[in-house]
């Protein structure tokens, strides 16, 4: 068998990874259709992509990338340094529609040295530049095809875009002119099935070979028990947290936030909402990261202590607040459980189910909320705690300085230490309720091999996927 059908929960709105936040775009095109200078591997490491190698200047402000030879876009045009400059300039331009413009913030200039080398000049050293360039938002696109990139993406990857039946599927076919090792599969179809019931049925009926991010954890035991299938349990970059509006009464009181942290029973939430899948976390950091420290001990489930803290903070009878829940089931189900747990210590949280658009509008932009549950799926995003205007409105100068130091630090050991310190600070400030690291739950037919177990970024890297006998 040389084709594969992969189901995704969400359909991409369009296929330009450089002008939207939608992860579904990356799921389809990242490394398959589009490639960047660097790229993520399944274990989260950064490896060369279209850049064969690079050199960093002494002061850490100049990066010189050596591009691979013989790389061509799907339309036949060769990929050159001009394309890299075009792509990066486009992404960081004033009127750019790039959803992660911040990735390119420190870049002062992109210079074409020769057709096979590009130089990036930075304002100041940036320890995460190679990491940033691995993102889907930083892939190299071709100027010739930029006009209809959204419906007909032309990249350099191992697969070419073939067809998109909106509302149903996207087909990719193998790019025979690919510069790298030829992938095993000749074609791949992405189908979009967001409904959990339909997802279950589609897998059971063997309509799909792989279901990336299977939406109903409750059904996984059935697949485990079925020899036709394998269940792939990995980790995502998603820290699932009970975000708290730190500027709003009564959450501006540390004791109240601490009380909430003690009111929460993480394991019950993981069991009830995720059917046991997920790793408890005590801070905003992914457990698979080398710099991770387990801080769950800062907030064990202790309703009595929670009640005592509330009384101390002047809320012996508890208080009322809102709990905004976006659509994913970790939020909707988790929210119901949390509301019940909060009720036990006297806090009445009114559940408000919102769609993502409303969530963005009223919670994220409007900061009009008490509590909300959301999984922060960007990799290495602890830096958001240094932004006082970020929706949970945590404003701690100490933390902000720490992050500035981190940004200019390139030594891995030092960076780990700084990151651990950062985890400590927010954990002890009980900025948010830290719940669990979102598991990556995939289901695949038994014969499929080479799929990513974890999700350092949203991607289904087809280059390594194949069928066993």
């Amino acid at each position: 068998q040389s084709d594969i059908t992969i189901a995704l929960q969400l359909e991409p709105p369009h296929l330009d990874p450089t002008s939207a936040a939608a992860q579904a775009i990356d799921s389809v095109v990242y490394t398959n259709v589009f490639e960047g200078l660097t790229r993520f591997m399944g274990d989260g490491s950064i490896v060369p992509g279209l850049a064969e190698s690079w050199e960093v200047s002494e002061d850490g402000k100049t990066y010189t990338f050596k591009l691979r030879e013989g790389v061509a876009f799907h339309d036949g045009a060769p990929m050159s340094a001009e394309d890299v400059k075009f792509s990066l300039d486009r992404a960081r331009a004033e009127d750019s529609a790039n959803a992660q413009k911040a990735l390119f913030d420190g870049i002062a200039e992109v210079t074409v040295l020769d057709p096979a080398s590009v130089q990036l000049t930075l304002d100041e050293p940036n320890g995460s530049l190679l990491f940033n360039l691995a993102w889907g938002d930083a892939v190299i696109v071709s100027e010739a095809s930029i006009a209809d990139i959204k419906t007909n993406p032309v990249g350099t990857g191992a697969y070419k875009f073939a067809e998109w039946v909106q509302g149903d599927r996207i087909d990719l076919t193998r790019n025979d002119a690919y510069w790298g090792d030829a992938p095993a599969l000749e074609s791949a179809t992405f189908k979009f099935i967001s409904d959990p019931t339909a997802a279950f049925a589609a897998v059971m009926a063997e309509d799909v070979d792989v279901f990336d991010n299977f939406p109903a954890p409750e059904n996984l035991p059935q697949f485990e028990a079925d020899p036709r299938f394998q269940v792939l349990v990995g980790s995502t970059e998603g820290e699932t947290i009970l975000s708290t509006n730190n500027k709003q009464q009564p959450f501006d009181d540390l004791r109240v936030r601490q009380a909430i942290a003690h009111a929460i029973d993480r394991q019950a939430i993981i069991d009830g909402a995720m059917f046991g899948y997920g790793t408890p976390i005590g801070s905003h950091f992914a457990p698979h990261n080398p710099a991770y420290v387990d801080l769950t001990g800062n907030s064990p489930h202790d309703p009595d202590k929670a009640r005592a803290l509330l009384a101390e903070a002047g809320h012996p009878e508890g208080f009322e607040t809102t709990l905004h829940l976006p659509p994913p089931s970790y939020a909707r189900r988790g929210g119901e459980i949390i509301a019940a747990q909060l009720a036990e210590v006297g806090i009445t949280a009114e559940i408000i189910n919102v769609e993502w658009a409303q969530w963005l509008e009223s919670v994220f932009k409007g900061k009009n909320f008490g509590l909300t549950i959301v999984s922060h799926t960007e990799p290495m995003d602890i830096g958001i705690y240094a932004r006082p205007d970020y929706y949970f409105q945590y404003d701690n100068p100490e933390f902000q300085t720490l992050m500035e130091t981190l940004n200019t630090t390139t030594d891995p050991g030092e960076r780990d230490a700084l990151l651990q310190q950062a985890q400590q600070i927010i954990s002890e400030d009980y900025v948010n309720g830290y719940l669990f690291q979102l598991a990556k739950l995939g289901v695949a037919k038994a014969g499929v091999q080479g799929l990513w177990l974890n999700a350092p970024t949203a991607a289904i890297d087809l280059t390594g996927v194949s069928w066993s006998e």
């Binding site: 019931t197 939406p215 409750e218 059935q222 009830g272 919102v354």
Partner: protein, 271 residues
Amino acid sequence: MSRGLWIGSLLTALMLGLALLSLVWTPYPYEQLDIPNKLMPPSLTHPLGTDHFGRDILSMIMVGIRTSMGVAIVAVAIGLAFGIPLGLLASQRKGGWIDEVIMRTNDVIFAFPLLAMAILITAVFGPSATNAIVAFGIFNIPVFARVTRGGALSLWEREFIFAARVAGKSRLRISAEHILPNILGILIVQGTIQFALGIQVEAALSFVGLGVQPPTPSLGRMLADAQTLVTIAPHIAIFPGLAIITIVVGLNLMGDGLRDWLDPRLRVVRA
């Protein structure tokens, strides 16, 4: 009273009884989570089993019936409160401009598929039981206006209405004194039908997340929760579904029975 009316009233009374009982007693507190005991099949301790949070399904159904009935009743009440006066007004001057305006407005409301309207309303004001009620209530207005107008129009041609007009009574007064009591029968029948429809609409809206919000259980919400679990624990989908069917069958049987019972043609024969 016919057998259908008996059975219908009995079923309705039973469900209503469960709903009222839930105000003072349920086997377990419906909001009590017991996650270690989730998805238990029916047993002696939990007659209808437990759901994915380990809540007692019987208790939730009892409260759910209450919620669903409450939503449906209020929506019907909205329809009655606005539909009857509008229908009466329209019928008083058949073909007049008031009649035209009312009936054309009704046509427009009618042209919106109920669900599309509910979706629009919830898109604007967010999903909530209140918005579901408003959506279905608005939909009910033309229903009752039409039934009222239809019934009233034929009455206005009846001789006893002429007699009342000869007695100098105003149209308003005649509407209240003669028209309304004589169309009460069809209104009650229509009311039970809309009530039954309301139960179904609430279920449908809550099922797609546009109706009653957690943690309040409603029959539709329970089904929505059950959707992904139906393969591993069918009982959590089956029982709320059966509850909906029982209420609706009960109400429909009652409506049909009442119609036969109130039908003036049959009444004359009985007298």
